[in-house]
């Protein structure tokens, strides 16, 4: 009865009331439906982003494991191909002493064996230093990087120099090691791929941030190339750099210098006390 009276055309207030109420209800239902659909869309998008992040982390982890295996294989090869035969030869020389009783020949064999053992000791020392440079542990990042660059310059392949402007206080040992590995990886890439004639490293501090910049005049990559390589299956070293930087909550930028003649790599790391737990 009430509904029929509401719908009576003579009753203007009734019409306003009826349509107003229906309109408000329709708006309310429309709003709720919109909110539900919008939220489903947002949640689906967030889940996709999460999945992409998971895939990226999986890729970085795989790259890290592959690199570790490659390094182990290299060490194994160095020991097997170089140290092994040297020690075997030294043993041969020493064995000869049991057979040959002539004193001069014996002395000569012992001398030869000693030379070979000295070479083997040097080889093992080199392998050990490449695994964990003692300069880094004892004297810090600046000395280790200086050492590395001096060795590169000494080899004659290119002119390598570095300058630390503000490194009065050493970072934590683990942090120095990670940064050193990143610099090693970048320098190896430059040596292998860029055909550069010089490489220069500078270190600065600005506020709570620690900066390392590497300039070279060879073929380099830009930030776009870096991101593409990171997403692909190649670029193992770059993925390793990325995963190490993630631990330090750091960033890396690849770009061409303003003068368009040099390539520049900038590493930005937040100092330990400012890093979130």
């Amino acid at each position: 009865m009430a509904l029929l009276q509401v719908l009576s055309p003579d009753n203007n207030i009734s019409m306003v009331l009826f349509f107003g109420t229906i309109g408000m209800l329709a708006l309310t239902i429309g709003l709720i439906v919109f909110i539900s659909f919008h939220q489903r869309k947002v949640i689906r998008y967030q889940q996709q982003l999460q999945k992409l992040e998971q895939d990226q982390q999986k890729t970085l982890l795989n790259a890290s494991i592959r690199l570790q295996e490659e390094e182990r294989q290299r060490i194994a090869a160095d020991l097997h191909d170089d140290a092994g035969p040297l020690l075997a030869t030294a043993r041969l020389y020493l064995n000869e002493n049991f057979v040959n009783l002539d004193k001069n020949t014996q002395l000569q064999s012992i001398y030869n064996a000693k030379q070979i053992i000295d070479d083997t000791i040097q080889l093992i020392r080199n392998i050990s230093h490449s695994l964990m440079p003692p300069t880094l542990k004892n004297f810090g990042l600046e000395s280790a990087v200086n050492d590395l660059f001096q060795k590169i310059s000494g080899s004659g392949s290119m002119n390598a120099s570095c300058r630390f402007h503000d490194y009065r206080e050493r970072l934590k040992a683990e942090t120095e090691l990670i940064i050193f590995r990143i610099i090693q990886e970048l320098v190896n890439n430059i040596l292998k791929h860029s055909n550069a004639s010089f490489i220069h490293l500078t270190q600065n501090t600005s506020g709570n941030k620690f900066f390392i910049r590497i300039h070279h005049d060879g073929r380099g990559i830009t930030q776009t190339d870096f991101e593409k390589l990171n997403k692909s299956n190649v670029g193992l070293g770059l993925k390793n750099i990325q995963s190490r930087l993630k631990v330090l909550q750091g960033k890396i930028f690849f770009e061409k210098d303003m003068s368009q003649t040099y390539y520049k790599v900038t590493i930005e790391i937040v100092r330990e006390e400012e890093r979130a737990a």
């Binding site: 309310t28 909110i35 939220q39």
Partner: protein, 222 residues
């Protein structure tokens, strides 16, 4: 009389849902709504039996209802800006409602207070929904009990808004005739409140930030 039966059933459903779902896991905001439902039941009962002082009862109920809803929204909305605005605006509106009630003619329905309350509560509901859709979360909004409570409030307020606005232009008999809109929206909102109370029992939430922190543990060392 049939509607009285249905409204009584809706109140019973609502109260039962609360007792079943919320006693073990009490939340302040849900307790507030439960108290509001009991007050609404009390006022509806007296509204039916007492015909002379209906307008006084309506006026008091409007003030109490607004105070409860304002506090409820203050508890559940977590937008920092709104957390400051809601108490200030609520105090102002309450002062207006009380002043209007004291000065109003008790012989007719106080249309201004009721419509003002409806508009402000609808705005609070919209602020709540805005806050929910702008928050990053991985659970659906309708799994949250407060969504249903706010939906019930919104449906009740939006259905009765036009009635309250036009109440001043209607005679007592006409108002009595159209009061069925309030009754029906009351029944619907009670059912929705009941669903909201039941959601409190059957829902587990987790935020997107909790999930992503697990993935950061994958790469701890180079």
């Amino acid at each position: 009389m049939k509607l009285i039966k249905y409204i009584a059933i809706s109140y019973l459903f609502c109260i039962t849902c609360f007792l079943v779902s919320c006693l073990k896991n009490p939340k302040k905001a849900l307790w507030l709504i439960f108290i509001y439902i009991l007050c609404a039941l009390f006022f509806d009962f007296f509204h039916e039996i007492e015909s002379k002082e209906k307008n006084i009862l309506n006026g008091i109920f409007t003030i109490c209802e607004f105070a409860v809803f304002a506090y409820f929204f203050y508890l559940i909305i977590d937008i920092p800006f709104a957390k400051k605005i809601i108490p200030i605006s609520s105090i102002v509106i309450l002062a207006v409602l009380i002043t209007t009630f004291i000065r109003a003619d008790k012989k007719s329905f106080d249309s201004f207070s009721a419509s003002l309350e409806s508009v402000v509560v609808i705005i609070f509901c919209l602020i709540y929904f805005f806050g929910q859709i702008s928050k990053p979360q991985t659970y659906f909004i309708y799994t949250v009990p407060y969504f249903w409570i706010v939906l019930g409030i919104l449906i009740y307020m939006s259905s009765t808004l036009f009635l309250f606005i036009l109440a001043g232009s209607l005679s007592q008999q006409e108002l009595q005739k159209y009061w069925v809109i309030t009754t029906i929206s009351n029944i619907i909102s009670n059912i929705i409140f009941g669903i909201g109370f039941l959601m409190n029992r059957f829902t587990i939430h987790h935020s997107i930030s909790d999930q992503s922190s697990n993935h950061n543990d994958i790469l701890k060392s180079p």
